[in-house]
Amino acid sequence: MFGLGLEEPGVFLLPRPFSVAWRSEDGRVGLLLRVFGEGTRLLAQLEPGEEALLLGPLGRPFQVEPGRPIECVAGGVGLAPFIFLAAEATAATADQAASAGAAPASVRLLYGERNERFLFDRDLLHELTGVTPELFTEDGSVGRRGFVTEGIEDGDEALLLACGPTPMLHAVVRLAGERGRDLQVSVEEHMACGIGTCQGCVVPGADGAWIKSCVEGPVFDATELAWPT
């Protein structure tokens, strides 16, 4: 996660949190930005070459286990970290496969959007990650009609990773519990400092204590947090 901000005359903007969606070998990072409110609308106006404030990398990313298949559940722009993760995982398994002759650990990507209009370019997605996503749209305009959570299956051994709007996370947590799946979630909470000083970004821990999502998260093992019942 990075904080992306702006310092311009006449503008005040707290940095907004963004997942790392892409990384180049020479150290550049790519963020996937979707306009949601005022801040992202302003950030979306950045032109190539313009300067912005970037703070990070911050917090803890998804933790994959070598060799263990992953199943990514992406709601909307929650796709961002999985582009990065899938690219890394396929690259790693390709390396492994090349060196050890092993079969690549599989990456399944469930990707849901409201409708076709919001969909991330599938060709680009495949190019970046080598993965073909299983699509879900609420209106069925592309892929399966319904919520992305409907793609989560029983008793799969793969590590479940979820990123998306909080109601989606709640649904995934419930399903993972029912189906006995290991789950990591990337939570969305407002942030200010991004580095653990302001205590602005807390989420409720399973033990009742508040946990700072900017340093302890944004990715948590689902069992670390308290969820609505």
Partner: protein, 312 residues
């Protein structure tokens, strides 16, 4: 290069810029990002006798030109502050001075924190946060003339260290409260704390902030902070730390000309962790550009007599 050194509170401040309470934790996180000893110091997150868990989320949100927060004074409490936080401050800072921000539900709570800390190392003095409800009186300490006077006198009896009271702007005349602090034995003032505010999520028809209301900070309150500093300066002779919306040297110079000898940077650090260092450098450039050798002569050096009615 201009000399920003000032003798204040019995020590030397080589820079007039501090990090504001609640925006820099207890120090270590910013120390990884900026050279803390290049600035004048920091004010810790509020410390109360007992630990506080704080408020439910959302605890922060952006507002036009600023932000609102309701952290709920979450802190580790006196005991763990001494055991876990003070040692870092005492070991890692050399030129940067530390004020401990103190809160309580009643005056005895404040006194207990001051008494408990007074013999420790690693900090210079106290910043008393009176923008909190007085459980006994039902009002806020910072808006109740009698409660404030009593509190300051009680704390004065507990310590010889610099005792700074952080004023709330939430009063008819901040000057009245500045004078009360001076008369009750305070050594300095901080002006100002946040403004009470509220944001509503019109889709959910609920307050955005978990605590419903919070404190507004950031550039939006800059003119109010400068005003409060100017009022406090006119009302008493205590040294003043100017706070509210400071992002650069020009903002800081407004506070300094209005009467602040030190300034604190809060919200601006969230936008850019370098903000406080830039403020320091901006003040130094101002002096250099104007051929002024020292900062002291600029404190309160506002020329506000004989303002003409002519366009200028």
């Amino acid at each position: 290069m201009a000399d920003l050194t000032q003798p204040l509170f019995g020590v030397e401040f080589h820079s007039p810029v501090l990090l504001a309470s609640g925006t820099c934790g207890y120090g270590p996180e910013y120390a990884e990002l900026i050279p803390l000893d290049r600035i004048g110091g920091l004010v810790t997150k509020a410390v109360s006798v007992e630990p506080r868990v704080g408020n439910p989320p959302h605890r922060v949100a952006e507002t036009p030109g600023g932000m609102i927060n309701a952290i709920g004074l979450e802190n580790v409490g006196l005991e763990r502050f001494i055991a876990e936080k003070l040692p870092w401050l005492s070991e890692n800072l050399t030129r940067a001075h530390v004020f401990v921000n103190v809160v309580g539900y009643m005056s005895d709570d404040f006194a207990a924190v001051v008494a408990g800390l007074d013999g420790e190392e690693g900090f210079l003095g106290y910043e008393i946060n009176v923008s909190c409800p007085n459980v006994k009186g039902g009002t806020m300490f910072g808006t109740d003339e009698v409660a404030l006077a009593d509190l300051v006198k009680q704390l004065r009896a507990e310590t010889q260290r610099p005792l700074v009271v952080k004023l709330t702007p939430n009063v008819a005349d901040v000057g009245v409260f500045a004078r009360i602090c001076e008369e009750s034995g305070a050594d300095g003032l901080s002006a100002i704390n946040t403004f009470p505010g509220m944001l509503i999520d019109v889709e959910r028809r609920r307050p955005v902030i978990g605590n419903r209301t919070g404190g507004v900070s950031g550039p939006a309150i800059l003119p109010m902070g400068v005003y409060s500093t100017w009022r406090a300066r006119a009302a008493c002779d205590l040294p003043i730390m100017g706070i509210g919306g400071i992002r650069n040297g020009t903002d800081a110079m407004q506070y300094i000309l209005a009467g602040a000898c030190l300034v604190q940077v809060g919200t601006a650090s969230f936008v850019d962790p370098d903000a406080a260092v830039r403020v320091h450098e901006g003040i130094a450039s101002y002096l250099d550009d104007h051929g002024l050798p020292t900062l002291t002569e600029l404190v309160g050096a506002l020329e506000d007599e004989g303002i003409s009615g002519l366009p200028s």
